[in-house]
């Protein structure tokens, strides 16, 4: 009987902490949302609206909402510019893909350009290979070397 009562008490105490199956992080959300009036992330802002938004995030976390649900609610309330970084799905994915795609295209263009330039340079001869010495020059070199050795 005493054991049952202890188990019931433990369950009652554990209930609030275990009420949510997933826990959104206040700190993480504050870095992912910006203050609409000062344009810094919530964690760096102490403006009135930032404080109200932090409180709103805390209320939603207490109501067991996931990070995604909380971000969705904030976007619905303020629009997509309330996020500190664009999302990685849907139309917002373009914000990530376009710069990376542009960089890849630029690198490819540079590589192709460099290759073409090197090849064209080879065709026009580049620095000439040393020509073979004629018999007269060879004789003079040999003489000079002999004098050097002697």
């Amino acid at each position: 009987m005493r054991l049952l009562a202890a188990a019931a008490a433990a369950l009652a105490l554990a209930a609030p902490a275990g009420a949510c199956t997933t826990h959104a992080s206040q700190g993480s959300l504050e870095t992912r949302l910006v203050c609409p009036s000062c344009h810094t992330t919530l964690d760096e802002s102490d403006s009135e609206v930032a404080r109200e938004m932090k409180a709103e995030v805390a209320r939603r976390i207490a109501a067991c909402q996931t990070e995604s649900q909380i971000l969705d609610a904030m976007v619905a309330e303020f629009g997509p510019t309330i996020l500190s970084t664009p999302r990685t799905h849907g139309f917002d994915l373009l914000a990530w893909v376009l710069p990376l795609g542009g960089a890849a295209l630029g690198a490819a263009a540079l590589a192709v350009g460099a290759r073409t330039w090197t090849r064209n340079r080879g065709d026009t001869g580049g620095p000439a290979a040393p020509a073979a010495l004629g018999p007269e020059d060879e004789r003079r070199v040999d003489e000079a070397l002999a004098r050097f050795d002697g």
Binding site: P36, V49, E77, F78, T81, L105, A109, V112, G113, T116
Partner: protein, 178 residues
């Protein structure tokens, strides 16, 4: 090599197109700056979700009436100072072809709605979450108040800071005469 040239040409043309588009659609000086110089200018579009009701409210739908547009946020002290007076003036002119529209920005909905309730603001209010309309109107702070005549043009005066009832009535009369 030809492909590279085509890609580079397309990229350059796209960037040029973006630049032209940006120049053509840039905000330029806002309405406020022009009105402050005594000019009468077409009111920029305002079509935003209602804060105090469901649905949207469009300024264009109010053509034929004088519209007083008041930009505000709930944390701003001068907004609080003028709030009751603006609401009282709105009630006084309600049946005389004058409509007041509040534009709320930089607020959570709950804080903005609490403000409306606290200060007895019962005229239409719309919500511009991150102040996207501020640039076109030339709003640089809150509160600011504009007067739109029956033809949809913003007419002087333009009030920056808390609007007194006398200043509001002067603006309304000016818009009615325009």
């Amino acid at each position: 090599m030809r492909v590279v040239r085509v890609v580079v040409a397309v990229a350059v043309l796209s960037l040029l197109g973006l630049l032209v588009w940006d120049l053509a659609h840039g905000n330029g000086p806002g309405v406020a700056q022009k009105v402050d110089k005594g000019k009468v200018v077409a009111a920029p579009a305002l079509n935003l979700p209602r804060l105090d009701a469901d649905g949207h409210l469009s300024l264009a739908a109010l053509r034929g009436k004088v519209v007083v547009v008041n930009f505000w946020e709930s944390y701003c002290v001068p907004c609080k100072q003028e709030a009751r007076g603006v609401a009282a003036t709105a009630r006084a002119w309600k049946d005389k072809g004058v409509v007041f529209v509040g534009v709320n920005a930089f607020d959570t909905k709950s804080a903005a709605r609490a403000y409306l309730k606290r200060y007895g603001v019962d005229y239409a209010n719309i919500r511009d979450g991150v102040g996207t309309t501020f640039g076109r109107w030339g709003v640089t702070g809150v509160p600011e108040t504009f007067f739109v005549d029956r033809r949809g043009r913003v007419v002087p005066p333009h009030i920056t800071g808390p609007a007194s009832r006398a200043a509001l009535e002067q603006g309304i009369r000016q818009a009615l005469r325009s």
